[in-house]
Symmetry: D2
């Protein structure tokens, strides 16, 4: 079976690590290039001893420049870089004929003004925004299949949007009443030496952060607005909790219509989707069932006392919220089975 | 200085353990009786080796019956028993002249019908409801000082009600729009051999539970309704997260009036309160700052995009949410300094 | 490619769960039978929602009896049962023509008297002991390939024996001076409702247990004695620490000869072994690099001040210490590639 | 009751934090000075919100120089500084008439050559070594009471030495056969932004480090040698495990004489000591019983198969291993009750 040559640009963080984990054993991928400015010259196995023994584990990190990446023969590049930095690489690599799957925020927003509002900087490559596809496969599968530039969604946006979109599309909830609380594992904050992230500051600690206007709100609202066909504003509170990986999201909104319609809408949207597991009314997803997978588990409930629908979701922030969802898009753009390399439990 | 003789009825769970921790070193308390049906005959130090060396650590657990408890000379009894069971003991001990601080739910609800609705049983001692005082000291201090029967509030209710009450009293938020998400440490589920509570089921796990009508809603809504002077229904979602102790609560509601009034209302209510620490606008409380204390930290924010006020609180579910708050009431009914035995950090 | 029909007997514990995780996606295995007395009638996905979506996840647990197991067409049975119970099933299933991979202790000891000494009971099927093969693949590969009855080693024994065997074979250490300390994750204690295993009793807790004569000593000493060609007694102290899975073992013993010979002995024994990763002198293995894999990482050091060799190993107690090592033996007895289904990271 | 004015020099790490926790509420201490180069100008409550509400929580960190410290009227200074840095401050503060309790390694070794060997630098103030007292109160109480310069022991040394000293003194074990394995919580590594200390690198990780010649060996061997009246070399392996605080130490050595003598020796040494809790033969100490206290729990066992005595100890690395032990010495040099401010559980 054909193997596509791939590069991972910025492979030394936790998203890079998860991409490595998946792509080192992907049946249709051949890893030919990994970059890391800080770790240039070291091998994958040296930086991440977990991978010692994998076929490509002796591959050496190189400094990221488009010329060198293209020289490796890579056909698809995954970018696991900070926002603002990714756009430049995307641009150069596209020029060199690679397809690009960007896991940063750089191409997720259609409107450069919104980018500026939320990221405090002019968009670094606005000319590419039109062609980029926001890659929630369960929502935009067809567009992804044709794309040259993939904007893989953020971790919170995936966990928040997937449950809400079907209800908004079916006008089952009042968009003005949505309130969302999420809890994220610490890996979501990145692999960096930061005092607030050390074990003794995170263990036995529960705290909100990034309120009231977390950057991920921009793409959440973009997607929810499209589904609702009206501008949606969301009350969103993320929390940091002491787990390695995993995001749990609880959203609620006022129901319009009958509670039964909720299950129907979810089933219509996701009944055939392999990676969305519907737990039904009363189902309470648990992150421990989805860690290291590409699944998102969704349960719901209805509270007649407040007339609110509750939507609960669990995913792995590094998985369906980052690395494995990007691999799902990779499978789509390459014409592979959508589950290739992702049937791990 | 006078020492009051006290008994802890049901001292072998985590609430009992926290009461022991506080009362074994309380300057005005003399522990004369601990009960535990299962552990009768064992000493405190045997069951909880942590306490070995404390003055009363060699005290032996006895079977709980009112006669024996009264015979120890106890003047005040703390009840750390399951709901439904506590009421009977409260009744007998009051008859024998003890004052009772009940940490169960039995006397928290004024209306026995609400008890029946939420606890699926007839109230075991409705005749005592009128005299019981719901013991949030920062809200009902004067009533507590006179009380013979204290109903010490639940862990979630304390964390949810304290931030919301001042805003409801001042009509600063729309009661119909309150949405609350809480996260609790595992000790909140009790000290019991339950498969769902073992380490490997809780560690690296995030999950909601008890929705949409957790039992604690009953007392939360009772207190919020009093503050709002209208019936309040709450959307409340508790979550279980892998910390030992601590509750973090995030509530939001539509603001009525000016954001500035929020800080003013909180300050008016709690500016002079030692155990409520106001972090101000933008403050994000962290449970790691309140564990093993009687403090509740409260921060808030305003989101002009959704016109919602955010209220964030952090407390120890075993502390301000149970044991230390009960000790605070003990100090009040005995006329001691309210902070006696509670100035630990 | 041929698929072998397999059964997992006793699939509701953590070892069963790990076997399911590996065998549900094993390229040459077809899961046709899972048993659990307690969970008969429930599906795999119902008991372990993590597996929902896997091909055989809708398979239903049946009560374990040899007749019914054989009726499913199973050719190989994995036994994840308590010691004492496993032997009876092994016996019946062998009679029905299945090959048996037993993960309990029942067939690990060659001498039924040692079984009696360590397990306080007569061996339940001594007639099978001669044919059973102690399945450390890196040590007894050829015997495993021919075996009908596999005794898959315990978690501590694997982590302790693999590093020590080469040094004992080469007479590089004094067997009378071996001292071993191990730390194990809580999953090693099993999936059971036990007060000492609940989150709040294990989290933030470090403790030794099972000393001075842990049951696993029996098989460790059997294997070390074979390697040393003399009776070896070991000082072994296991500790319980708050991680989900993983075992770290530190052994030391007085060196005989030159420090350089240590590395040579390890390389000679394991240089070609895929699942043993040698970290060399100074290497400090970390369980986080081996969790959910079949790898064991081994580092060593020499302390000239005490003339002791230090051997450090890290494995997953559910992986190389149980489930994946059993799958490695499965691959061997079926003639598959030894790494089939085990190249996950 | 008289209060002694105290300063904490270097109060922004975890040892400083624990000293603050204890000294902010100590009945005979008045905190008049805290220093932190990095946090000068900020208040204690600002840096450590946990302490907000404590009497001295509004005290402001100043830059550490002896002149300014002395100007605050401080009579006793606790130094929670890195080794090499502490000695200079000790020297200047002693000159200004303060008594000094140093928690660094600078004055723990009697021989400057050993300091050089283990710390790779000339001793910064060798002239003070003669007067410094190694402050294990249970071993050197009388010398401490007279001291002007206290060298408070390290966390590992306390946990290793206290159990071994009585057996060495009584010649009950062979010093040449001692093997020690310790496990430490992550706070032992300090409060610093270091990639290897972030949550995702420590959580679910078990690893040895600092072998074969950890710096703490120097003071352990010094104290053990004194007890044994011969030079003792130790095989010592420390491990990092995912708890916040706590050290568990397992030592073993060949018994000389009768097992019964072990308990007798421990009782003779510590039977009257409040802060040493003897769990007896078969006792397995658990760090969760000693965290945030000044207790060290000691259990032991004898393994007739290997003729080795096992000694198990549990302490809080920040407590008996650092902060609270320093406070115990403070009580001794000031003539207070040895347990003053330390009877917390």
């Amino acid at each position: 079976m054909k193997r596509v040559k791939i590069a991972i640009i910025g492979a030394s963080g936790y998203t890079g690590l998860e991409l490595l984990r998946l792509l080192l054993t992907h049946p249709h991928a051949e890893l030919v290039c990994v970059t890391s400015r800080q770790n240039a010259g070291r091998s994958i196995a040296e930086l991440f001893p977990r991978f010692s023994g994998a076929t490509a584990a002796e591959l050496t990190f190189i400094t990221p420049d488009a010329e060198s990446v293209a020289a490796t023969g890579a056909e698809v590049a995954f970018l696991a870089l900070p926002h603002g930095v990714a756009a430049g690489y995307a641009s150069s690599l596209l020029e060199k004929g690679l397809r690009v799957i960007d896991l940063s925020a750089d191409f997720r927003l259609e409107d450069p003004e919104v980018y500026k509002e939320f990221y405090d900087a002019d968009h670094p490559a606005p000319e590419l925004l039109k062609e980029a596809v926001y890659a929630l496969p369960e929502v935009h599968r067809e567009a992804i299949q044709q794309a040259r530039l993939i904007a893989s969604p953020g971790c919170y946006p995936t966990s928040v949007s997937l449950p809400l979109i079907p209800l908004l599309k079916e006008k089952l909830i009042d968009p003005a009443t949505i309130v969302t609380c999420s809890m994220s594992g610490v890996s979501g904050a990145g692999r960096k030496a930061d005092l607030s992230l050390i074990f003794c500051e995170c263990n036995e600690s529960l705290r909100a952060y990034g309120i009231p206007k977390h950057r991920h709100l921009s793409e959440i609202e973009q997607e929810l607005s499209k589904a609702a066909e009206e501008k949606v504003y969301l009350s969103f509170t993320p929390h940091l909790v002491p787990v390695h990986n995993g995001i749990h999201t609880t959203s609620s909104a006022r129901l319009i219509g009958e509670p039964e319609a909720v299950q129907a809408a979810l089933e219509q949207a996701y009944g055939e989707e392999y990676f969305v597991r519907l737990l039904g009314k009363g189902g309470c997803p648990d992150t421990k069932n989805v860690t290291r997978t590409n699944f998102i588990d969704i349960g719901w409930n209805y509270d007649p006392r407040t007339c609110r629908v509750l939507l609960l979701s669990a995913e792995d922030n590094l998985g369906k919220g980052a690395g494995s969802q990007a691999v799902q898009s990779f499978n789509l753009i390459c014409g592979f089975s959508e589950t290739a390399g992702l049937q791990n439990f």
